[in-house]
Each structure stands twice: as C-alpha cells, then as structure tokens.
C-alpha cells in the first residue's frame, strides 16, 4: 500500500493490545454471565504481559505521527513499568474485590484503558498528544477511584480527584497554549526556541504545575492523602505505581527538551522545578510523620518520593550526568511501582471491612499491624521488605534507586538538593520503621484474620522478588535503564 504509515500503527502496538484487552474484558462482563469472574484478572494479566512484550520487542523505533510521538528505549521502559504495575494491581484487585463481592469486568477494563493512556504518555513528544494521553489515563483513574460508589469515602475521593484533576488539566492546557505562543509549535523539540521569554517561562511553569498535580508534588499535593486513602486500595496501588511513572516520564521529556543546550541550573524553569523538589521532599516527609493511618502515611510517602524523583529529573539536564540521572529515575520508578503496590496490598489485606463499602476511620490504623509477625509471618515479612525499600535501607532496591539519584545530583553539582534528599530520607526511616516495630514488637490486638487470596499472594511474592532481587543484582536493570537514558526528544 503506497504511503501507508505502517510505522505509525506499529508503534502503537502496546497501546492497541491494552485497548483490545479492555474491550475484551468489558464484553466478557456482559456476554459471559456467571458469578465466577476469576478469568477477568487472568485476561488482564495476559494482555498486560503481551503489551509489555510488544514494548520490549519493539518492531519499530523512532519518531511517529510527524514527530508527535516517539518509540525509544525510554518509552519502552515506561511501558513495561506501567504494564507490570497493571498486572500486579489486577492480581491484587482480584483478591480484594472478591472479598467485597465487587469483582466486575469494568474494574479491569478501566485499568487497561488507563494503562493505555500511561503507555501513550511515555511516548508523547507533543503537548497535545501528551494532553490526550493524560486525559485517557486520568478519566480511567477518576472512575476507578469511584469504583465502590456506595461508600462515602470512595465518592469523596473520586470527587476530589476529579475536580483537582480537571484543574490540573486546565493548567496544562493553558500552559500549552502559552508555549505555542512562545515557540510557534506544540512539539517538545521546539520548546527551547522560545526560551528566555516570559511567555515561555509562564507556559512551562503552568505545564509543570499541571504535571505536578499528577505526580503529587508539594504544593499541588493536597488531594493525595484524601484520594489515596479513600480510593479502593488496589486502585490506590495502581495510581501510585502507574500514574506517577507515566507523569514523570512526561515531565522528564518536557524538562529536558526545554533545557536542551543550556548551561545547567541557570534557567528560571529549572529554578521552578528545584523549588518543587525542595518543598516536596521537606513537606512530604514532615507530613508523613504524624500519620496514624498507614494508608495515609503511604500517601504522604508517595509525595516524598516524588521529591526525590524530581531531583533525578533536575540532574538529568546536565549533559555529563544525563544518562546516569535518567537511569536512576527509571530504576527508581520501576522499584517504586513494585514497592508501592506491595505495601498497599498488605494494607488492603489488613483493612477493616464494613458494610456498604464504607471503611471506618480506623480501618488502616497502626494498631491493626500490631503482632502481624506472629499471626501472618509471610505478610509481615513482605511489608517489612517494602517499608525498608521505601526508607532506602540496603540491601533493598529502594536503596540502589536513591543511591543513583543522589549520585547523579552530586555529579550535576546539585549539592544542596542531594544533602536535603539524604536528610529527609533519614526522617522517612522513622515513620516507615514505626510500622515494622508494630508488626514485630507489639502484641497482637486479637483482630480478625487478614484477607488472603491466591492472586494477592502471587502479586505480593512478585513484588517482594522485584524489591529484593533488584536490590542485590541491580546491574542488568540499571544497564537497561541507562540505555533508555539515550532519550529522544
């Protein structure tokens, strides 16, 4: 066929697989009417794995759709991370939803659609494509947050998420319009053209603010604790893993394009980003300290981790350390996805259930973790591994990720940010280890048995394996991430 843009369609293969999977799950929900829906999680995992495999096989690399999107190692890495996050969340969701008698195809369908948006976001090199991808991702996650709609908390969470998400989309769009005015193009590659003009700085700052909502950076984090706490726990895991990874991929591409060819740390835009990083690291950690609810603590921890990742993005603008910084960023995102899903899974297994999907306020209280090591040693061990990784203690993968990011920051001569990162991580040790202390050193409160299901156990085992194995032998993945650091803008 003459002039047929085969490459454009081939490049979208992972996204096509995810979309077909979503439609398949939705149609199975209405055509295969039976009470047993275990196959839906299986279908989701199969399609997630297929999409990840397609991203790795990568039949075509390079720019597609008139340079509005790109398939490179970076996008492939991001796609694999979000697909892995989807597979794990689907397994977690299967056990969690079945216990609430709420397993439906729509849950998996929405998750697959959302992942398709995330994969597209990793590929976007144009502000409008990025916007469409953000909306595909966000609309799916808004609805997922409201999945248990009878409850008060999920409704509140979904409504807050929707309203603030809409504001962030508006900020992103307004910024895009200003950038178009400044540089005459919506392509990332042309962003640097308008550099120096106030219009360009205002546009970039608005775009960054829009993305900062998605990655939950202070001062755009206000929705995070309420939404993370109120949303169904598997959905929280999915959001923490996927949305964050995809939004960071977008931020890295936009930031590096806008800063291409500058002397580092001299531009006003990098000043904006480092301001975000400083605030996020300090307040994310400070606000996590007093939390009694473990789910809420993990939400603030997600904010804090966004701060460290922002340091990685900043370091990547320096020519000499770009590969190392991007490798650290990608490695960190992959590890954080596994760790966050794992931690939220344990929280979901322990939470107190009540009628009508409305968790009581103390559903995730620290007390519920007391004596877990005696009641369920496996669960307690898994949670301990995740918390140590979040705190960045060797030999977990979280340590390696932090090590790479802070090394890159020092290489980029961002000494202040590196020191602040290490200090605030030390603060994190307190609130992470407090949960470990409760699990191992407090007597059990004689509570009901935690939820257990085969699918959830598989997901937990996989997450533990990722965190431990990547902590011990990080090299292969770091090398992959380093290759992905050769980013196309």
């Amino acid at each position: 066929m003459n002039g047929f843009p085969t490459n454009d369609f081939v490049a979208l293969l992972p996204i096509a697989i995810l979309t077909v999977g979503a439609l398949a799950v939705l149609l199975s929900e209405v055509f295969l009417v039976s009470g047993r829906r275990g196959y839906q999680a299986a279908i989701t995992v199969v399609f997630a794995v297929a999409a990840g495999a397609a991203a790795i096989a990568r039949p075509y690399s390079g720019y597609v759709f008139n340079r509005q999107a790109v398939v490179d190692d970076f996008s492939a890495f991001v796609t694999v991370v979000v697909c892995a996050g989807l597979a794990l969340s689907a397994l977690v969701g299967a056990g969690w939803l079945r216990a609430r008698n709420a397993e439906r195809g729509e849950f998996y369908g929405l998750a697959l659609f959302g992942t398709a948006g995330m994969a597209l976001l990793g590929m976007a090199t144009d502000l409008l494509v990025a916007f469409i991808a953000i909306e595909v991702m966000s609309l799916a996650t808004y609805s997922l947050a409201a999945y248990l709609r009878r409850g008060k908390r999920p409704s509140e969470a979904a409504f807050k998420y929707l309203v603030l998400g809409a504001i962030s989309s508006a900020l992103f769009l307004y910024g895009s319009a200003l950038l178009y005015g400044a540089s005459g193009s919506t392509l990332f590659g042309e962003l640097a053209k308008g550099r120096g003009s106030p219009l360009s700085l205002a546009g970039l700052s608005l775009v960054a603010a829009g993305i900062a909502f998605k990655i939950a950076a202070v001062p755009f984090h206000a929705w995070t604790p309420d939404v993370y706490e109120g949303a169904p726990t598997p959905v929280t895991a999915f959001m923490a893993a996927g949305v964050k990874a995809a939004a960071f991929a977008l931020l890295a591409r936009i930031f590096l394009s806008a800063e291409a060819g500058t002397a580092a740390q001299a531009t006003a835009f990098s000043g904006v980003i480092s301001g975000l990083a400083v605030l996020t690291m300090i307040f994310g950690n400070l606000l996590a300290v007093p939390q009694r609810s473990v789910k809420r603590m993990l939400a603030y921890s997600s904010v804090a981790h966004a701060g460290y990742l922002l340091v990685g993005v900043l370091s990547a603008s320096v020519a000499g350390v770009r590969e190392k910084a991007l490798a650290g960023l990608l490695f960190y995102l992959a590890v954080y996805a596994a760790t966050a899903i794992g931690a939220f899974t344990v929280v979901g297994a322990l939470e107190r259930r009540s009628r009508l999907d409305d968790e009581p306020a103390d559903a995730w209280d620290l007390e519920r973790f007391a004596g877990l090591a005696r009641r369920r040693p496996g669960l307690a061990f898994a949670m301990a591994v995740f918390l140590l990784s979040l705190a960045g203690i060797p030999p977990t993968a979280g340590f390696i990720g932090k090590l790479y990011i802070f090394q890159a920051a020092i290489g980029a001569q961002l000494y202040g940010l590196a020191i602040l990162g290490v200090l605030t991580s030390a603060m994190g040790i307190y609130y992470y280890l407090r949960v470990v202390v409760y699990m191992y050193m407090r007597p059990a409160a004689g509570e009901a048995e935690p939820l257990s299901s085969a699918a959830t156990s598989v997901a937990l085992a996989a997450a533990v394996a990722v965190v431990v194995v990547l902590g011990l032998v990080a090299d292969p993945v770091i090398r992959l991430a380093q290759a992905a650091g050769a980013i196309l803008l």
Binding site: N2, G3, F4, L23, L26, L27, E29, V30
Partner: protein, 129 residues
C-alpha cells in the same frame, strides 16, 4: 484581492439571513396561527418526562443521564465522520486520506461499536423498568 474584513462578508450575509428568517417565522406564526389554548397545551413542557412540579429535588431515572452520555459520544462520532467522508477520496491534486484514514476511522468506529454492544447488553437501552 479581498481585505481580511471583506472575506467575512458572506458570513455576515448568512448571519443576517438566519436572524431574518427566524424573526420572520416567529412573526408569521404570531400573525397567521390560530390560538386555541387548552389546559394540556399550557402545561410546562419537558422532554420525555412528566413536567417537574413542586420540589426539584425529586428522584428521577438515571437512564436519561446515560442516554445523554451516549448521545454525546455518537454525536461526536458524527462530527468526525462528516469531514472524514469529505476528505477521504483524492480530488483535484489533493491526495486524500487514503488507507491510513480508512484504517484509523475503522478502528475508531469499531471501538465505538464495541462500546455500544457493551451498553446494549448491559441494558441501558432497555427502557422498560
């Protein structure tokens, strides 16, 4: 050569014609139409449902909402289909959208059909309670 303002002249004419026609129709209906009011005719009119009386905070079928959503989706589809149909084939030096356009629209419509099948089987279009 037309000045930029002059190029808008046809639009101005169209606007005048539209406003004039609307005014003419209202005026003619007022002048010529017979007027035989009845109780039924002068009740407030609402699409498809009993007119709201008393408190507006009444429960009503959520079906309207879903149908409205469906309407928007297929309305947008029609908006996309019209220019696509005009531009698909080559004409007078314009290359046309070709197979790429055909396949893209095929994917779009197929996705919408899958969605329609889903809501149909889900019983959204089933109006009887």
């Amino acid at each position: 050569m037309l000045t930029p303002l002059q190029t808008y002249f046809p639009i101005g004419v169209a606007l005048l014609v539209a406003v004039g026609l609307a005014a003419l129709m209202v005026a003619l209906a007022n002048l010529l139409g017979p007027r035989r009011p009845s109780v039924v005719k002068s009740t407030p009119f609402e699409c498809g449902s009993e007119p709201a009386a008393g408190s507006p905070r009444e429960r009503f079928g959520v079906k309207f909402y879903v149908v409205a959503l469906l309407f928007i989706v297929f309305d947008i589809e029609a908006i996309f289909l019209y220019p696509w149909a005009v531009l698909l084939l080559p004409s007078q030096g314009y290359p046309g959208l070709g197979w790429a356009g055909f396949v893209s629209m095929g994917i779009f419509v197929a996705t919408l059909v899958a969605g329609l099948v889903y809501v149909w089987k889900k019983g959204v279009l089933d109006w009887a309670d």
